[in-house]
Structure formats: structure tokens, C-alpha cells
Symmetry: D2
Subunit: 308 residues, 4 copies
């Protein structure tokens, strides 16, 4: 499998972890999920991220999931390897690269407070990872660490293996503009920027120079449609598609029940066998389900109206 580079574009969907109702990993659904994402046109996948259910797995399970997804996937796979120390980070990174991952992703520790600390952390990450290409995960809402654009520029300049930014600052539009201004002026390398935040700002992010999305909304068709139409210059069409999915995408952004909603829809679409979350984890109430069903019905109607 080729390694991740600065040229990466499109949609790297953040995969869920399918479990059976009893909490065991559902390997059949893992395979079906990989196939489903590829059928819907994603250009890559990201697994073992900060959110989701990766932290609920044992380290053996994490590696087994990574191995299975990477073996099955025809598209590049990025693996989250964030850890409190460089040793466990490198160990996981080495394992998954051996399995055939395209690259790894690293978020900063919550103790990062100043520009210099963020820079120092990521240069030590670069040292520890050797030749493995990696993604800088900028995710202030969860990590509580804000990394200014000029600090990212400095990291990009000094650490050649940093090839992508998972962009998830909120608001983050000005950040994309600032990073692209730097690379347009030739002050830094131009790296790939893929955006998160559930895709809630995807059209505007594309407008600022993002290369695509890295997020997990249960209709990857939305991200693929927005990114492709933007890429070919049809901005209004990109917005039309986005707007049709927005009510559901917004519903999925509720911390706590969002992941349950995502799995509910994926199960309903036949992708995974069970919508169950591993413990500790919630479940949709009947009222939540009624909300989701109404949104799905309205979404289907709207998609028909716009011919998507």
C-alpha cells in the first residue's frame, strides 16, 4: 500500500467499530463496513481515532481491528496512535505500518499550553516515528489544545514526515485561509488538509482551500458529494447536497448520543449488524429514534427533489 503524502485528497471516512449485542467485535460487519465505505466513494479510511469506541478496546483488539481493516481495504488507511508516551505511540505505529497502513495520526497531550510546547511535542513525534508519514490532529474541542497556524507552519517546515492536517478547530475557517496563504507564498510546504467537525462546515472549508473531509457522518455520500462537486467547480451543487443532509448531520453532532445515532443509521442501512455500543455507552431512546426516522424521511424526500 502506498504511503500517505501531501497530495492526499477526498474523503477519509472515520470508521465506526462494529460490535455484537454482547459487546464482542463483529468481524463480519467490519468487513461489510469497509466494502460499504468504498462503494460510496471514499478515498481512504481512518480508524482508532480519539472519539468513537477505539479506547474501549484492549490493545490486542485494537491491533486486530487495524489488521483486519487494512487487509480488507483497497483504499489507504490512517490509524490513530495518540498515546501519553512516545514509546507506546511508536509501538502501535510500527505495528500498523507493518500491517500496511498508509500513515498514522497524532493528537497533542492536554498539557500542551504554549506555542513552543506544541512545536516541541510534534518535533519529538517526528523523531520517534522515523519515516512513517503522519497526520497532525488539531482538535481543540476535545484536547483543549489550540495550535496557531504559524505553529503548524513551523512544524511543517521542520518535520518533513508531517504530511496532513486533520483540521477540527471550531471555528476554523480562518485557520485554513492562514495555512493556505503561507504555502501559497512559498513559506511552507503545502500539506493536505482534511476537515472534521462532523462535516458541519465542509462547503465553506472547501472554499478556503481544504482538500476534503475526515469525519464519520453515517452518509459518506454527503462528504463525497460535497468534495467532488467543489473540486469540479460546482459550488452551488455542493451546497445543495450539503443542505439536504445537514439536518441529520447536525443531529449526529450531539455529544453522547451522536455515535448511537450514527450506528443506528448504519445498522438500518445494513452496513453493521447491531447498533450496540460497547459498555460504557448509551443507546437511543424511542423518542430519539422517532427524531432520527423523521429526519431520514425528510432527507430522502429532499434528496429526490434535488435529484441526488
Amino acid at each position: 500500500m502506498p504511503l500517505l503524502t501531501e497530495a492526499a485528497k477526498g474523503v477519509y471516512v472515520i470508521a465506526v467499530t462494529p460490535f455484537l449485542d454482547n459487546g464482542d467485535i463483529d468481524w463480519t460487519s467490519v468487513d461489510r463496513m469497509v466494502d460499504f465505505y468504498e462503494e460510496k466513494g471514499v478515498t481512504g479510511m481512518t480508524i482508532l481515532g480519539l472519539l468513537g469506541e477505539a479506547p474501549k478496546m484492549t490493545s490486542e483488539e485494537s491491533k486486530a481491528i487495524a489488521k483486519r481493516v487494512i487487509s480488507r481495504a483497497k483504499v489507504p488507511v490512517i490509524v490513530g496512535v495518540t498515546a501519553p508516551g512516545l514509546a507506546p505511540m511508536r509501538e502501535l505505529a510500527d505495528s500498523v505500518m507493518e500491517f500496511g497502513a498508509a500513515g498514522v495520526m497524532v493528537a497533542p497531550p492536554w498539557t500542551t499550553k504554549t506555542d513552543d510546547q506544541a512545536y516541541a511535542f510534534y518535533t519529538s513525534v517526528g523523531d520517534a516515528l522515523g519515516k512513517t508519514p503522519w497526520v497532525l490532529q488539531d482538535y481543540p474541542l476535545t484536547t483543549n489544545v489550540t495550535i496557531a497556524p504559524k505553529v503548524i507552519d513551523r512544524i511543517v517546515r521542520d518535520v518533513p514526515t508531517c504530511v496532513m492536517l486533520k483540521h477540527e478547530d471550531w471555528p476554523g475557517l480562518a485557520k485554513i485561509s492562514a495555512l493556505r496563504a503561507s504555502s501559497d507564498k512559498g513559506e511552507t510546504r503545502r500539506i493536505s488538509i482534511l476537515c472534521g467537525n462532523g462535516g458541519l462546515f465542509l462547503p465553506e472549508e472547501m472554499g478556503r482551500g481544504a482538500d476534503g473531509a475526515m469525519t464519520g457522518f453515517c452518509y459518506p455520500e454527503m462528504m463525497v458529494g460535497v468534495v467532488e462537486n467543489y473540486a469540479k467547480g460546482d459550488v452551488e451543487r455542493a451546497h445543495d447536497i450539503f443542505d439536504a443532509y445537514l439536518p441529520l448531520a447536525r443531529y449526529e453532532q450531539q455529544q453522547g448520543i451522536g455515535l448511537s445515532a450514527r450506528k443506528y443509521v448504519l445498522a438500518k442501512r445494513g452496513v453493521i449488524s447491531s447498533a450496540a455500543l460497547r459498555k460504557p455507552g448509551g443507546a437511543l431512546s424511542p423518542k430519539d429514534i422517532a427524531d432520527v426516522e423523521r429526519l431520514l424521511a425528510r432527507q430522502a424526500k429532499r434528496l429526490t427533489e434535488i435529484g441526488a
Copy 2:
């Protein structure tokens, strides 16, 4: 002006504070804004909230704004009086009630950690405020204080002057359901619940038993339309209106530039003379303005399509 009661319904719009370009309060725009909100059908107004620019004013300015808005308004006005001590809270509350406010609103201090601490704080608020009716402002995203439904129930049971919940937990749908279940069973008084979060979950919140909205989106028509249609049972129409405004409402939820976007639109609509924020405060970049203009154009088109 009649006092606020548990029967309050509809849309209490959170008013912006209009400034001239030089940072002075723009009194002409204050008056025009009050008239505008009333023309659009709001049932009340809320001023001096936690966010927005109220904290940037001197205490004399705050009182002057409260006096002006209350004098001008034909609808009830709620005034935020959150303060680090009971003495300054009561002082401001007494002043604004004398001006004719309908009630006041109080958020918990960030030092509140346990159920008992939240209960103790709000019973002391009730004591301090005497007969003044007040709104419990539940706003975990900013205050970092989560108040469980059963704690709110306990406060409502023991403090008769607590007549409204400003609901802004995220996710908060289950919270509304829980509170309504308690009052439906007769375990507590049924108080008014008005929802915030920029209106981003308003149709679903109405579905759970909310009485309306308390938020500041630049098109109060959205909140009024959703609430009115829900109230008369036309749920799909409520969603249609909501969906048409959602792309812009979402854009306004960007922390930092959201308020600039709101003021930009209100200035464009002729409500306030200047979109300027008082220092320290940002401004929209040309790219932000282009985003907003595109969203406004698309919104106008979509509203025409649905006949709204």
C-alpha cells in the same frame, strides 16, 4: 409590565447590543432593534446575557441599556443578572425590576461541582431575590456546570420564584423529556422551558415539550415560525422553515465570529447602523462575508420555494 410566570411561551429573543463604529452605544439602533424584534413576532426579549457584549459595558451602561429596552418594549423583558456574589446580583435585579423588567436570569458559578452545591446555590438565589421571578440558566458549554434534571426538579419544588428554565445543555433532548415526565406525573410544578443553542435543535426540542426558544439568531422569523407551527401541530411545516434557515444558523454558531455574523446580517437588514463589536472583538473577513452572502442568497431562494 406583568411579571414572568411558568406560563411563558414563544420566543424570547436574545438581543444584541448595538454600538457605533467608535464603540459608543448606539441608542437609535437600540430603539429600532426593539421595534424590529416585535414586528417579527417575538413574545419577549432577553438582555445582558452571559455571551454577547453585555460584559463589555460598564455597570452604568448596563443599567442604561436595560432601562431603555424595557421602556421601549411592549413585550416582557428578562435581564441577565449573573454575578459572583449575591449582593451585586440583587442590586442589579432590584434596579431592573424597578425599570419594569418581567424577571431576571441567573447562571451558576463555575465552582459548582455537585448536585447539592447546585441546589444550595439556587435556593440562596431565591432567598436573595425576594419576590422577583427568575430563570435558571443551564448552560454547561460556557459555565462548565451540569445540572441534572432531578436537581432542577428539586429546585423547582422548593423555590416558587423559579418560573423558567433557559435550556442550553447539549445534548439536551433527554433533559427536556425527563423534566416534562416529572411535571406530568405531578412530582413538580410545570415551569416554562425555553431553549437556546442558537436554535439548532429547536424542532426536536419542541417535540420534547419545550415552550419555545430563547436565543439570538439574526432571523427571529425562524424561531417564531418553528414555534408557532409546532404549537398548531404542523410539525412538517415547522421543519421546513427550520431547514431553510439551518445553513445560516449553523454558520452563526461558530464561536468567535458568530456574533460578528449576526450583527453583519442585522446591519444589512437595516436593524442596527453598524455591525461593529466593541473592543476586544473581531470582525468578519472578506471571505467570511462572501460565505454569509452566499448563505443569504441561498436562504432567500429556499424560502421562496417553500412559500415562507
Copy 3:
């Protein structure tokens, strides 16, 4: 009264706010407290800080306290003027400078995340305050804002009215060393550094180049003794005095009851009439009082042993 300058040294004690048991300000104790601090050898006083009970006062009370303390004091008085906007900050600063304050103190807003944001905030503070000398309050434990030494250097270089750092990072010894290295090399002005944190690291802070203390321990004799002995080169004597007071100083550092303990001791020493905190505020339990009494007895014995 002369204005605060970079040459400030010694102990600027953070004054408590004396209340009567009914919560009213105790003006007689205010005067007695000012005299007490001066008798114990402080070189200045700081009022209306972030902690303590200043936020519990109305704005009129705050100004009245500032006026009373400044009129009474023979030593320079610094007044905390931190506010969410530049307008209320400047208004309070102008008032207290007119009363005769030596300077004002400003902490950063909690929204400050990056080096550039901290720099931008303090340059705008410098602009807003005109010629008034001011203290940069660096207090990460409460404000959650960490300002790197090189950012402080940048502010000091560009804003000539910044004359003092209230140092309260924890750990902060390396920060003092870094700031002194910059000024020793002539890269920045040498400003005054006074240290907080309840005095818990005062001898070591003096060893790194601090000019003294700005904190509120109920025995200002401790800070005065440590600073004076350090200044004349008797480091071991400074430590002897420090160690004798440390068990009580540590007890005062308990968030929540620390201030009650401080007021209990000040009342016992005859400085203030009542140990009461204004609402909302706790009180020492009988067990807390027994703890404090034991520490006071042991402290008196130890002070006798070392001849202090």
C-alpha cells in the same frame, strides 16, 4: 502618590475585604487593616484581586473600598481592574488612578489560547490604559491561560507601561529564570517580578531573581522576613523564617476554606472585627478551627526557637 515603576520591590500584600457579620462592609476594620499591614512592614498593597471577595461587591462598593484604602495607606496601592471588556476596565482604572492608586493589575481573559492572542490582548490593554502603569497578572491556575516567558518579553518590549509581573504560574521557577536571563542579556527591560501562590515558593523564587511577593498570607511578617533576609544575602535565615510559617501557609492554600482560615487568623490577631465572608461563602468548622489553633501554637513555639 508616586506611580508604580519597574523598580518596585518588597511585599505588596493582597488585602482581604472586611465585612461585618451581616455582610456590610466594615469600614473601621478596613482602616485598621491598612495600618496593620504597614506596621508589619509591607511596601505596598493590592486590592480588588481575582480571588478573594472583591467580585462579591457592587461596583459602587468596589470604588468606595479602593478610595478608602488609597486614602488611608502611606504605601503604594495597586488595584485589580480585570474586566471582560476594555471599556469597564478603563473606567475602573481611571477612577482608582484619580483616587491616587499607584497602578492597576490585569489578568488575561480565559479565551486566550495562543501566544499571539496573549500578546494582542496586552497591547490593547496598554493602549486602553494610556499612561497608567500596570501589572501583568499571570495566573494559569485560575485563568487557565499560560503565557510563555518569551511572550511576556515581547509585551514588555513593546508596551512601556507594563512595569510589573504578578507571577503565579505553578511551577514557575524556570519562568523567573527565563525572564531574568532575557533582561540580563539586555534583550528586554527588567521589570519588577512579585510572586504569588500564597508565598509557598517564596525563598526559591527570590533565588531566581524575583523582587518580592504579592500574596495575602495572614502573617505578612513571613513574606517581609523572607524578602528582607534574601535581599541582604542571609538565605538560610530567609528559609528559617519561611519554614516556621510554612505549615500554616500550606493550610491557607486549601481552595474554598483558605480564605476563611486567613480571616479567622486576622480576626484573632485583632486586625478585623469579624471573620465572616460575604455570601456566598463558607466558614471554618470546629475541626478546621482546631487545626488552625494547633498550627498557630506550633508556629509560635517554632518562632521562639529560631528567635524570630
Copy 4:
């Protein structure tokens, strides 16, 4: 090895993780450290805690350390097994109990906000751990989760395998008093309470009814001396010993460099071969070392004076 029970008393020292200068685990020092702690009179050890360097190890290394320490130790060993999910928590717990651990320790997830959530979390922990006795780790400063005494009482009542509280609230004296009042009245079981916070409040905590300490200060003699003298009723002697060590204990409480100071002293005492922290981790500067050396010299002198 017998299992942990509610009767546990004394000092469970939190062990450091010894590394060689190159970052590898230093197994020789691991053994020597176990022997050293036992010679100094500890009644137990705790490994793989939240702080320290346990998170920097791979999961294989963590298990290997646990196995080695448990095999070597003649006293009971408690192992931290906090994890984001019940599955990895149970997996580690099962492993270490098989090695012969006396029990495990679990901190709450940072998403815990309300009383009911804390209760629900710990009942699910009890379910997941089966018969394994466990320690409730109450550590608000790091986890940002505050658990009220009555919630702990409720957990203790309903989950018989909860046998100990690692107490680390700050301030926490009133919490111990409240918990002991409940068990004295027979409302709950009396569980063991061991206190953390670097031992900085140990004499007062013993006075409130704590059974001992669980913390990692580089002189376990301090904790042993305080706990033993308190147990036999010699409160003043307990304070004398405490006061002699307090200046150094305070220095060790500096977040960031505290662990470096602890390892520096342990290396100087011949317990571990290298003071090095595994990456990422700091090191003492020459000025820090001078501080520590001065404190050690003064401590030795003071210990001689009091005949300890």
C-alpha cells in the same frame, strides 16, 4: 497474597517507574526500589497510577512491571487499571490479580458530571470487576470530577467490592469528616481511606479519621512516621516529623518538575540507578538541583534536631 479489605491501614507508597538513561525499563532498580520501600516500613505499594510514567509504557511493559513488582513485594500491591472502557479495564485487572495483586484502583472518566453518573459508573465498575476488591480514586485536580461524600456513601452501600477510597480532593478534610460521620452512624460500611496530595495535609487528614497515606514522596519515612505516631496518639510528634519534611514535600508538588525532583532524590539515595524520565519528560535544571540540595541539607539538619 491476601486480598485488599476495608481494614487496610498505613502507607501504600506510589512507586516510581525506574528507567535507564536510554529509556528502557531498569529492572534491577525495580527490585531495589521494592526492597527500599519495604525497609522504610510501608505497608503496601501502588503501581500504574494516573500520574507518573505508567502511561508512557506499552501495555506489555505495564503488565511486566506489575508482574515483577508483585512477585518481589512482601507487602500487598494495588494496581491502577483506569481505562476508557470496561473491557480493557477488566482485562488488565484480571491479569494483575492473577499475578497476585491485592486489588485494583479506578478513577472516573472526565465525562462524569452529575451525582447519578458517578454512581452509575462505579456500579458498572463493580459489575465488571467481579470479586476483585477495588479502590475508588477520587482525584478532582486531574480528572476534573468531583464526587460528593453522599455519592461515595451510596457506592459503598451498594457495591461491596469497593473497599478503599484513595482520597485526593483538595481541600478534602471536610470530606473525610463527612464519610466518617456516615460510617460512625452506621449508615454505611466503614471503608479504608488513604490520602494522596503528596502527603501535604497528612497530619490533618489523620486527625479526621484517615487510615493512612497513598502517595509517592521520596522520603516514605515521612508518611510512615506521621501515620505511626498518629496511630499511637502522639500527634505533636507526628507534626514534628511532618514539618521537618514539608519544605521538600512542597517542592515535589510542582507539577511538571515534581517527578524529576522525586527521582533525583531516589537516585541520590541509591534506590534507582538513573533519575531519567522516559520521553516526553523534563529534567531538573542546575538551579533546580541547587534548590533540592539546599532543602536536603536543611532537612537533614532539622531531622537531627528533632531526633528523627
